[in-house]
């Protein structure tokens, strides 16, 4: 299981990476915005995407749309971890095909729960 963590703040990438490690996911790669993330995704081998929304270059929502528009990535599970909390935005992300939405600041338990839920749904 290889996970791509996308956030423009390196502290947040470290936090998410460490939490994932704690959950048993040790194989992670990082990108600091959608623009750098997309080539990594397109190169293949990523099983799960955790992305922020507000990033310079290419935002998380645009990354999500690009992922869903790519036939090779259309089924990639995507978890959004973001400070964006406007109801309109959450609806927008849901419509764009996000698999889970966690707002910052979050707890380790919340992240764990959402990730497990996503995998449950995939396995089902």
């Amino acid at each position: 299981m290889k996970i791509l963590v996308v956030d423009d703040f390196s502290t947040m990438r470290r936090i998410v990476k460490n939490l994932l490690k704690d959950l048993g996911f040790t194989n992670t790669v990082e990108a600091d915005d959608g623009k750098t993330a997309l080539p990594i995704l397109q190169a293949g081998g990523i099983d799960f995407l955790v992305t922020d929304w507000n990033m310079p270059g290419m935002t998380g929502i645009d990354l999500l749309k690009a992922v869903r528009a790519d036939p090779n990535l259309v089924n990639l599970p995507v978890l959004m971890v973001t400070a964006e909390a406007k109801r309109d935005q959450i609806v927008m992300a849901a419509q764009a095909g996000v698999n889970g939405y966690v707002i910052k600041p979050f707890t380790a338990a919340t992240l764990k729960e959402k990730i497990e839920k996503i995998f449950e749904r995939i396995d089902a």
């Binding site: 502290t11 400070a83 964006e84 909390a85 380790a108």
Partner: protein
């Protein structure tokens, strides 16, 4: 001054010269007044023009919603935002310090126990330990194992808390970026004012790009009741959408 004005003044001046040559004091006085009058009226016209320009400029500023918005909403909001940054950094610091304070004695106790046991263990290995002491050491070992399992669990939990506490850097970073953008647009608006008062009567429309709303600052961004204030809110919204 218009041509008409010029001809008018020229005519008046010629009349004035004629009156002076004819020693007609009264007529000369009257013509001087008339000349001064023209001068004054064009001065008033100039002042009138400047007043109108100033008035229009002020109007266009109040019509420029970004400028009034900055003054009325964004500056007070920025204060709240920065206040929230202080609150968040303080919380994170306290959270981290509490964990460190709680775990310090645990790690000291672990160290002490391991140190004592290691010493005794050495004596046991070189067969310098009486049987009674060995029984005591066995008991101590049992207790040490029991204690370490709990202690290491506690340390693990604490480390996770410290890890999570660092999330403040991302949130406060985003908030501070917002305030920096505000200061920048304030600066741009000030420059516009200076340009306008420097008689360049041209107000460029502020092309402020639409920013994402970003982190929710309590009492600032939740006023319109259109934000999710907790993960439960998000979950409820998503489940209402069939998630």
């Amino acid at each position: 001054m218009t041509n008409l004005n010029l001809e008018n003044r020229l005519a008046l001046a010629k009349d004035l010269v004629a009156a002076l040559e004819n020693n007609d004091e009264a007529r000369a006085e009257q013509l001087c007044d008339e000349l001064a009058g023209i001068r004054e009226s064009s001065l008033y016209q100039e002042i009138g023009y400047l007043t109108r320009q100033l008035h229009d400029t002020m109007n266009s500023f109040s019509a420029d919603s970004t400028f009034t918005d900055i003054a009325e909403n964004e500056i007070p909001d920025a204060k709240e935002r920065l206040q929230y940054v202080i609150t968040m950094t303080e919380q994170a610091a306290n959270q981290t310090l509490t964990v460190v304070e709680d775990l310090m004695p645990v790690s000291q106790e672990l160290h002490q126990q391991a140190h004592n046991l290691a010493e005794n263990w050495q004596r046991f290995l070189i067969k310098k330990m009486p049987f009674d002491e060995f029984k005591d050491m066995s008991q101590e070992l049992t207790e040490h194992f029991k204690y370490s399992v709990g202690a290491v669990e506690q340390i693990q939990k604490g480390l996770n808390e410290v890890l999570m506490a660092q999330g403040f850097q991302d949130i406060t970073g985003q908030i501070i970026r917002k305030v920096i953008n505000l200061v920048q647009s304030l600066e741009e608006n000030m420059v516009e004012i200076i340009k306008v008062s420097g008689n360049k009567n041209h107000l460029e429309k502020n092309s402020k790009q639409q920013d994402l709303p970003g982190p929710v600052v309590p009492k600032v961004d939740d006023r319109n009741n259109d934000v999710a204030t907790s993960q439960d809110d998000v979950d409820d919204l998503l489940s209402s959408l069939g998630f």
